[in-house]
């Protein structure tokens, strides 16, 4: 009990001394803290950027859906031996119908539904307004079972419109915004590369995919209508939803078997299609992410090390200057721990001050960046503040330890003699 109380009093005394010491040497303390400030700004900003980028990756990947397979002629990545793929027969709209029939006939199938998807770039016009670089794609009414994107207004086309290949479409958020500022586009007729099409819905804002492609610049119509306008000779992609996310492996095996039947492939023949999945993107992204993380870690630790050296130096100076004081304190009963704590806390206090200022500066920079570049995926969070403060306290402890340890081991007689 008394030991605990004593530790507490020693700690408060140490903070008091540290504060007095910092105030008495304002310039010196601020210059030292500057090193820590720079380090903490680097750490927090880097972490904000990295977590923002990571979040961007995650968001983009989840747009692909973690329970959806993509059946294509080509693999998304790593198709070096292209001659193996070039002669594959295109994937057709009716492959989706056949696949769905097989799935329905399979008891306890792991697959839910397959929809075809054909797409191309186009420009969309309404009145005098025109937007280019829009991605138009055609699919079936069953797309509603795969996509969980919200609507600002309206709806997806239904089965009747789908079967009738009616020229109706759903606009991405940005398309609607550009062509119909401050009004509803529902019921209006836009022209898609010259083909008239009635707007029946508008998607909610979704964002970009890895900054490459915006889901808000798209337009969705029945695959029949798409086929009439643009044709589907180049083939389609099948999106296949899985019932249970935890059985992706088994579901993939089932899908490959079913597709082989759809395509009438013989045993022993190589698949003439590829099942792609979100995982492939992740495998591509992870090394990129890792390099960004590693580079960030190296840069930030360098700047923190420079700050730490400054702290260590100032603590050595402080110990030297106050050698006689250390002697006096030991003479009246300060133990090794007391002296060690005193100088450690002094180092840590400067670091905490540097950390608080550094986090403030980083937050200001962050606000500035977000104001200038709203799409930059940086994030500032409580976790970040905690990381910043932990980093500064650790810097203080690690850099203050050697000088503080030296101070605590001083022989009181030698310290008292020191002039």
């Amino acid at each position: 009990m008394n030991a605990l109380a004593r530790l507490f009093y020693e700690l408060t005394e140490s903070f008091r001394i540290a504060w007095a010491q910092i105030r008495a040497n304002k310039t010196r303390s601020m210059l030292t803290a500057l090193g820590v400030i720079i380090g903490i700004v680097a750490v927090t900003l880097m972490y904000a950027a990295i977590s923002g980028i990571d979040r961007g990756f995650q968001n983009s990947l989840s747009m692909l859906g973690n329970d959806v397979f993509y059946v294509d002629k080509w693999p998304w990545f790593g198709a070096e031996d292209w001659w193996n793929y070039i002669n594959r027969p295109a994937i057709e709209v009716r492959d989706a119908e056949r696949l769905n029939r097989i799935v329905e006939d399979t008891p306890k199938s792991l697959l839910d539904v397959a929809v075809p998807r054909a797409g191309r770039g186009c420009s969309v016009k309404f009145g005098d307004g025109r937007v280019d670089g829009i991605f138009a794609f055609g699919t079936t009414a069953e797309y509603a079972r795969i996509s969980n994107v919200d609507f600002v207004e309206g709806r997806l086309f239904n089965e009747i419109e789908d079967n009738g290949a009616r020229a109706v479409c759903v606009l991405g958020f940005d398309v609607a915004e550009a062509l119909f500022p401050h009004r509803s586009p529902l019921g209006e007729t836009v022209t898609v590369d010259g083909h008239p099409c009635i707007v029946i819905g508008v998607y909610a804002k979704q964002g970009e995919f890895l900054g490459l492609f915006s889901f808000d610049n798209q337009l969705v119509m029945p695959i029949g209508a798409f086929s009439k306008m643009f044709g589907t000779r180049r083939g389609v992609e099948l999106q296949v939803k899985v019932k249970d996310q935890t059985q992706m492996g088994a579901a993939k095996d089932e899908l490959i078997g079913a597709m082989r039947r759809v395509r009438g492939q013989l045993p022993g023949e190589r698949d003439n299609f590829t099942v792609n999945e979100q995982q492939a993107f992740k495998a591509q992204l992870d090394p990129v992410k890792f390099s960004i993380f590693a580079a960030g870690l190296i840069v930030t630790s360098m700047s923190l090390i420079v700050g730490a050296i400054g702290i260590m130096n100032i603590t050595f100076v402080s110990v030297k200057e106050r050698t006689k004081e250390i002697g006096s304190r030991k003479a009246i009963g300060a133990r090794r721990r007391t002296i060690l704590l005193q100088f450690l806390i002094e180092a840590v206090s400067i670091c905490i001050i540097g950390g608080i200022i550094g986090i403030g500066v980083a937050y200001a920079v962050f606000l500035g960046v977000r104001y200038q570049m709203p799409s930059f995926p940086a994030e500032f969070s409580v976790v970040l503040v905690l990381i910043g403060m932990t980093a500064s306290v650790l810097t203080g402890v690690l850099s203050g330890f050697i000088p503080a340890w030296g101070a605590s081991r001083l022989d009181p007689v030698v310290a008292l003699r020191y002039e």
Binding site: N2, A5, G327, K330, A331, R335, V413, L416
Partner: protein, 251 residues
């Protein structure tokens, strides 16, 4: 057990009986190594001090007074010999155990005051109590009392650089007193003061002695030593003489 002290003609047993033994050192030596040279700061000192003695340690410069004082104050450990403080063997104690003894049993007064420059008198006097784990309110109260005791009740919130030399030394005495130590050790407490202020500090020690404290003062001034009741003279690291001085006139 400790062997009986060797018969020493220079140390006549003419002292009047005192309270219990506080300091008991026997055959203590202290060597310093300076490169190839060895300095014998103490060559075998035997000394007993009882409760409520008032002792002056005298001797020429370099005779080992400060070395002996540091040893008595548990700041330093002997190269050889025995030291029992209040019946406890301190010659083999660890650093932190010694720190605890210094904190509770010993009050130091230095020639150069050794106060914390940026702290008030009150906080300087509180410091030993902080290290002793005394709660803040009690700490402040006791520090106030100690400062009142040395006549500085009106200077509690002054920092050392706002005080005269004599006042600083009074703060140091209050700091030495505040934890009710078994013994007060003062190494040339008047060395940095003019003779009048020095006398005042010595009167303060006289009062503390009258109140029952045990005091050892190192000095090389006969005037200062005359305040004490017993004088120990060192020469070349050995006790040259140890005798009761003439009782001063009652105050």
């Amino acid at each position: 057990m400790i062997p009986p002290p060797p018969p020493d003609p220079a140390t006549p047993r003419t002292l009047r009986p005192h309270g219990p033994l506080v300091i008991d050192i026997r055959n203590v030596t202290k060597l310093y190594h300076m490169g190839d040279e060895t300095v014998h700061a103490l060559r075998g000192v035997t000394l007993q001090v009882h409760r409520n003695e008032y002792l002056a340690i005298m001797g020429p410069s370099g005779s080992g007074k400060s070395t002996l004082m540091n040893m008595l104050g548990c700041l330093d450990t002997p190269t050889s010999g025995h030291y029992e403080f209040n019946g406890k063997d301190v010659s083999s104690m660890e650093d932190d155990e010694l720190a605890a003894i210094r904190n509770r049993e010993i009050g130091f007064v230095f020639q150069t005051f050794n106060l914390l420059p940026r702290s008030t008198s009150l906080h300087n006097v509180e410091l030993p109590l902080i290290y002793a784990g005394v709660p803040p309110n009690e700490r402040r109260e006791r520090a106030r009392q100690a400062l009142d005791h040395v006549g500085l009740g009106d200077r509690m919130l002054h920092k050392p650089n706002e005080l005269s030399g004599g006042q600083r030394q009074r703060v140091a005495v209050a700091r030495a007193l505040v934890n009710h130590p078994s013994i007060i050790l003062a190494d040339e407490p008047t060395g940095n003061l003019d003779s009048k202020t020095g006398e005042e500090i010595m009167y303060l020690f006289d009062t503390l002695y009258e109140q029952g404290n045990t005091i050892i003062v190192v000095t090389h001034e006969e005037d200062i030593a005359r305040h004490a009741r017993r004088a120990v003279r060192l020469r070349d690291g050995l006790i040259e003489s140890d005798r009761v001085t003439v009782e001063p006139a009652a105050v």
